[in-house]
Symmetry: C2
Subunit: 509 residues, 2 copies
């Protein structure tokens, strides 16, 4: 009997039904969140948050029901387990993990948390718009307090913050992160200093100006199509904070934001979210409708967004091919700029305040600041009221600049309003995973650089689909990187890549 | 003890909880439908439909659960009933009616129907676009078959079609409709003939041309604001078939469609949906989060859309005020047209193919055709395959024109794809309710016409809120019209109104 044709036992059948229903509710909730962030009317938010709370609670109940517990118990018995195909085995494994985690949370607390974070996102948006950190503090305090309670209930892993890290990157610890970030710091800080002292600063004057929004939108769509993003299985909208959301492989939505005076924000934001979207659009069909139909970890997810954004989108070859298209979208505004000039201009290293607009090198410093602050919040009981002070001090220390206001400081990111403490390290993990993957990709696809330079982006997309995307949550992050590179995650690939790239751009020694 | 401050018994408390959850799920489902119609990616529709089926089933289960049955039984006992305040009493009454109706439907059949109609709407859109009625027939056959099954389960009221009518307008029968439509026909057909023979045809040449879409959008928004539509509690989007959907009073969304060569389509479509939206935005706060927070019947709902669209939007006074604004939105295109000319032009009576673009007079003939065809489908077993032939024959008889293709004929309306058989009569009921209401409104607000002519639309909106909107489903349709006019629904008000209007426009004797 082939594993695909296995006869479903009644237990397995019922388990798959429950998983299907959970996934369906998650899909619908994903749509509601998308809507809230892309233009849901303000006056409906309060009731909508309650509705989200109700449906999330129902989903939570399904995943923690007595029935689910009994089914998992039976499916985990050795003889039943031996009968399962690969997908079902992973489904049982993941669902058991979730079940055990969720059973520790009282349903009422969970519901309170969902309603709170759903409202907090609107409150954050308002606070950011009005530069009103104190107005956001009460939400933050409650969110942190409930997270602390979760940690207690789940059990502290070494430190409280470790418990949160494990949510986004299974197995990741503060010890491991301290080491990785230490290695990055040891090589990247000196590199940043050499760059600061370099006399060969790229010219960025041609990036100044006012860029028509409709033209920005058109160009964003063009690049997404070139990357292989399927517009019949997605759409591009606008939101305050760009994001991608995979509701199903047939509906993976992207948002971006268009700044009139900065062409790069929407452009690289779109490519970033497009990378996330390629992942979600290309998960294999067998997994659709199951809870394995998503990225395997936030680190691997960010590896795809950051890889496409930076290693492709900020490469010289890419602009050798696409600069003429960009110039055609903004007649008269970028005339005479060469691909080489453009490439150097968009890769200027410049300590800056806003993470999502940071260059590739200092970006990791933005992440380290957030990592340190999150550790302080959970491991050292930092008072949320003191966040602006700590934030500004760390920015001054690490980047030599101080935010003029909280909107450009501690209020810049959406993550904490949604309770996503422990998420930020994923971005730097993503940078490291991405550099390690690209190193192998260049060996496996010897024409890769020439392909990018001639606008053939699909071979890379196909290779990443093969290695990463199709597997959804079937493979663990560590399995993915080891299958690709024969090694666990290393910081050296990212450091090598950045050193090589910036030595050339800044003509260091 | 005041009724508002009543102590909730545990039964009442639990009942209200269940009602709250049902309403929350309905709100979320409403959002999913809105999304499907306003740009959800094609490749995600199939899985989304399954998800809609799952959540609808859950909602259905809540409304038909043993627990709900027991609660309703207890709350319907005379001593408990006597304790209920007005809202709770109506909630129990409506929920009992729904419960008894829904208990007769097997849950699996219901789910099948939801998934089917959800997919059928996309199939209809595709069929309409490609003028492919045969491709839509299989869906139609299944939808009709399940509706027949529903009718059997609910029990036939006089005729099978009567059972469907009652869904949209409680108590409405084919006997009553035959009478009302007979009365309309007796006065409106001769009126149409006199108009056809009149030598005073309005000039419509100035309505020809190409009208910028962005300007159409801007003007639509301007008019909505003037009507008192609250954009902080709603939004305006585009869809193939315009609609309004009230997710909660704080989130009532409208769609319209912009035709480049017809300025009136989006304009009157927007005012029509705006009328629906005013109703839903102004239901009183006490009802929010309950299943009474919606219009009391489709007939009353359509009275508001049709009243705003025609009795206000196609009135002379309205254009005395707003024509200069319209002209300013389309510079050079409507220069020199007077309000009187514009008013006559937009009220030209011209037998036409498309219901939603029909003039006020022949509109009712479009409805009667659909009413007769629906009766044939359910009471005389008309084969859905034969619909185009019957449709075209009836259009030829009633309006003297034959659709050149099914897209402009039998495929023009979305309703049947959603299974809404029995809905169409609501539009003509709406016309009659609306005329009856406006007759009273003019007596109660003696300055009404002068107000409209000076752009003060809010007094009418406030009066309608007072009389209709705020009550949601607390009052029955018959109660609404009797409280306003001291009479049951009459056809004469509409006939009088149309005769007066068109006698003047066409200068009949």
């Amino acid at each position: 009997m082939s594993k695909v044709d296995q006869v479903q036992t009644p237990d397995l059948k019922r388990f798959r039904e429950l998983i299907g229903q959970i996934k369906q509710y998650e899909e619908i909730l994903g749509l509601v969140y998308w809507d809230m962030r892309t233009g849901a009317p303000r006056k409906g938010i309060e009731l909508r948050s309650e509705a989200v709370g109700a449906l999330s609670s129902e989903t939570f109940k399904l995943s923690t029901s007595e029935e689910m517990g009994k089914l998992l118990h039976k499916l985990n018995e050795p003889d039943q387990r031996a009968q399962l195909n690969e997908i079902d085995r992973r489904l049982v494994e993941e669902t058991t993990k979730e079940y055990e985690r969720n059973r520790k949370i009282p349903p009422e607390l969970y519901r309170e948390y969902v309603v709170l974070t759903s409202q907090a996102e609107s409150a954050w948006e308002f606070a950011k718009e009005n530069n009103d950190f104190p107005g956001f503090v009460p939400y933050l305090e409650k969110i942190i307090a409930i997270n602390r309670r979760f940690i207690e209930l789940w059990g502290v892993k070494t430190t409280p913050y470790d418990t949160l890290l494990d949510m986004y990157e299974p197995g990741l610890t503060t010890v491991e992160l301290d080491r990785l970030f230490g290695e990055l710091r040891a090589r990247l800080v000196p590199l940043a200093e050499r760059i600061a002292n370099s006399g060969n600063k790229p010219d960025t004057s041609f990036l100044e100006g006012t860029f028509d929004k409709e033209a920005q939108k058109k160009f964003s769509k063009l690049i997404l199509k070139e990357m292989g993003y399927d517009f019949e299985a997605g759409r591009l909208d606008e939101s305050v904070h760009p994001f991608a959301t995979g509701l199903s492989p047939g509906d993976v939505r992207i948002t971006t934001r268009y700044l009139p005076d900065d062409i790069t924000s929407a452009l690289f934001g779109t490519i970033h979210e497009g990378g996330h979207a390629l992942y979600e659009q290309n998960i294999k069909a067998d997994l659709a409708g199951t809870t394995l139909c998503t990225g395997t970890s936030m680190g691997i997810h960010e590896s795809q967004s950051r890889l496409w954004e930076n290693m492709i989108g900020r490469s010289l070859g890419f602009w050798q091919r696409y600069l003429p298209d960009l110039q055609a979208h903004f007649p008269g505004q970028l005339d005479g700029v060469t691909a080489e000039q453009f490439y150097r201009g968009i890769n200027v290293v410049q300590p800056s305040l806003i993470r999502i607009e940071a260059d590739e090198l200092t970006y990791n410093l933005h992440i380290m600041i957030r990592y340190e602050i999150e550790k302080m919040l959970f491991n050292e009981n930092l008072n949320p009221r003191d966040l602006p002070e700590v934030w500004n001090k760390k920015y001054n220390e690490a980047l030599g600049i101080t935010p003029p206001n909280d909107a450009e400081g501690v209020l810049q990111d959406v993550h904490w309003s949604g309770g996503a403490f422990g998420y930020f390290p994923s971005y730097s993990l993503g940078n490291m995973y991405g550099a390690q993957m690209m190193d192998i990709a260049r060996r496996k696809l010897p024409d890769l650089d020439a392909q990018v330079a001639s606008g053939q982006l699909l071979p890379l997309k196909e290779w990443l689909t093969e290695q990463v995307y199709q597997h959804g949550k079937i493979l663990q992050p560590s399995e993915i990187i080891e299958r690709i590179s024969g090694q666990s995650l290393q910081s050296s690939y990212l450091c090598d890549y950045l050193e090589n790239k910036y030595k050339e751009i800044y003509r260091l020694e």
